[in-house]
């Protein structure tokens, strides 16, 4: 396999320095549609920030996140412990070499070992070919507002909607709206939150394949935007720019709903390695 470290350094740089094109497009659209003066100014700062980060190759945000990586292996990939170690080392090396913030510490002593640790998810795709690596540097201003609720199986959709809208209300201005919401419905408790995180990787301009979920996403987005929190809490039309929902089968006794919020700088990047 070609120098995987180089590929991964490019990936980390892309995710940290450049806004995803779909995200940039959504922010630009919001800027043009916003009439409220202060909210528009804040959206203008966000767009200018992205231009500077991209041009000068510095981090979009000082919170360069906890690197969450998704490794998807097709049927032809020999996924070994050694290969996973190379991927891990390359991510952490790229953080160090590009002056990204060493934000990972021991949870209790708070000791900072400098550029150690990440979260990885491994996915096998028997019908696919090649290796796909995605990095999602997750900032904690928004990650801290994650919520999980185990609904009763007889719960109404309306209750789920209210729960999600309330999550955004609680997240408030400090989690850097306008947000992108990842929602996971079903599975087990941890799987619902995994789906919520994974939903943040979906392109926000490609519609959900599931018609019911598509309608639900729209309805929730419109309710969120009626909160009028807006960028920096300055009001206006845009408290969130997208809601993405993923679902999975669950148990007859339960209905888990996980909500993972992303700040306006939703960063992720993917490479395919053949």
């Amino acid at each position: 396999m070609k120098d995987i470290s180089k590929h991964i350094e490019d990936l980390v740089r892309k995710a940290s320095f450049s806004l995803r094109k779909d995200i940039e497009k959504a922010l630009e659209k919001a800027y043009h549609q916003e009439k409220e003066k202060k909210a528009k100014m804040a959206l203008g700062w966000i767009l200018e920030n992205a231009k500077i980060a991209e041009k000068e190759k510095i981090a979009l945000c000082q919170d360069t996140g906890l690197p969450v990586i998704f490794i998807e292996a097709g049927n032809d990939v020999k996924l070994t412990a050694a290969l996973l170690k190379r991927v891990r080392d390359a991510v952490l090396g790229a953080y160090k070499d590009n002056c990204l913030r060493p934000s990972l510490v021991d949870p209790l002593t708070r000791n900072n070992p400098q550029y150690q640790g990440l979260i990885e998810h491994i996915i096998f795709l028997p019908k696919a070919k090649g290796l796909r690596i995605t990095i999602l540097p997750k900032g904690f201003g928004s990650e801290n507002k994650t919520q999980l609720k185990m609904f009763e199986p007889t719960a109404q959709i309306k209750q789920i909607e209210e729960f999600i809208v309330n999550c955004v209300k609680e997240a408030g201005p400090e989690s850097c709206p306008p947000f992108f919401l990842g929602i996971g419905i079903g599975g087990t408790s941890e799987y619902a939150l995994y789906l919520a995180k994974k939903a943040l990787l979906d392109k926000i301009d490609s519609p959900n394949n599931d018609k019911f979920l598509r309608t639900l996403e729209k309805r929730i987005l419109s309710k969120i935007n009626s909160l009028k929190i807006g960028p920096m809490g300055l009001g206006g039309k845009f408290t969130a720019l997208a809601v993405k929902i993923k679902k999975s089968q669950t148990h007859i006794a339960g209905l888990p709903v996980g909500v993972n919020i992303s700040c306006h700088a939703l960063r992720s990047a993917t490479i395919k390695i053949k």
């Binding site: 966000i46 190759k57 981090a59 000082q62 002056c99 934000s103 201005p173 809490g233």
Partner: protein, 176 residues
């Protein structure tokens, strides 16, 4: 748009209203979670602090490492609410202003009013943009905390919005 030069004295603070946008030139001291915890522990033990907080501005910020050839890396505000439980002793030790993002509790609003202090919002999630307003960065103390160490930042025309003014008026309608 009002341009204000530091140090931020009472006269400057009392001329500002919640919601107002200003461009500030002067000095910030960065401090976030761990630096607050240590400062408050030192105060509790009656020990001398490694910096004089009187009339200073605390910026809730933990910048990235500084890339070669730059003054500073990305350096936007972090969530102010996490500093709420440490804010009272800092105000009592004389800080005049705080810079961060998001809401504060009602008790912080009352304290700001009591001490005739001020709370500013910095453009949130705009660390690359904000690096352009910083002329110098110097390590002051707590080097072992890495990005959470206290740095002095010399800033020029740094954009700020008054979040809570000296009279306790807040830009957010509802405080938690």
């Amino acid at each position: 748009m009002k341009k204000i030069n530091g140090p931020l004295d009472k006269k400057n603070i009392q001329g500002l209203k919640a919601g107002e946008l200003i461009l500030f030139s002067g000095t910030f001291y960065t401090a976030r979670d761990q630096a607050h915890k240590i400062l408050v522990e030192l105060m509790g033990k009656g020990k001398k602090l490694p910096l004089d907080l009187k009339n200073q501005i605390i910026y809730y910020c933990g910048p990235t490492k500084t890339p070669p050839g730059r003054v500073i890396g990305s350096c936007g505000p972090t969530t102010s609410a996490r500093m709420d439980s440490f804010t009272k002793p800092l105000l009592e030790n004389g800080i005049s202003a705080m810079v961060g993002k998001g809401r504060r509790t009602k008790s912080i609003i009352r304290l700001i009013k009591k001490h005739r202090a001020i709370y500013f919002l910095a453009p949130a999630g705009c660390g690359a943009l904000l690096s352009k307003f910083i002329l110098a960065k110097k390590l002051i103390c707590f080097r072992h905390l890495g990005p959470e160490a206290i740095y002095s930042l010399k800033v020029k025309e740094f954009p700020l919005i008054v979040g809570i003014d000296w009279q306790g008026r807040s830009i957010y309608e509802k405080e938690t």
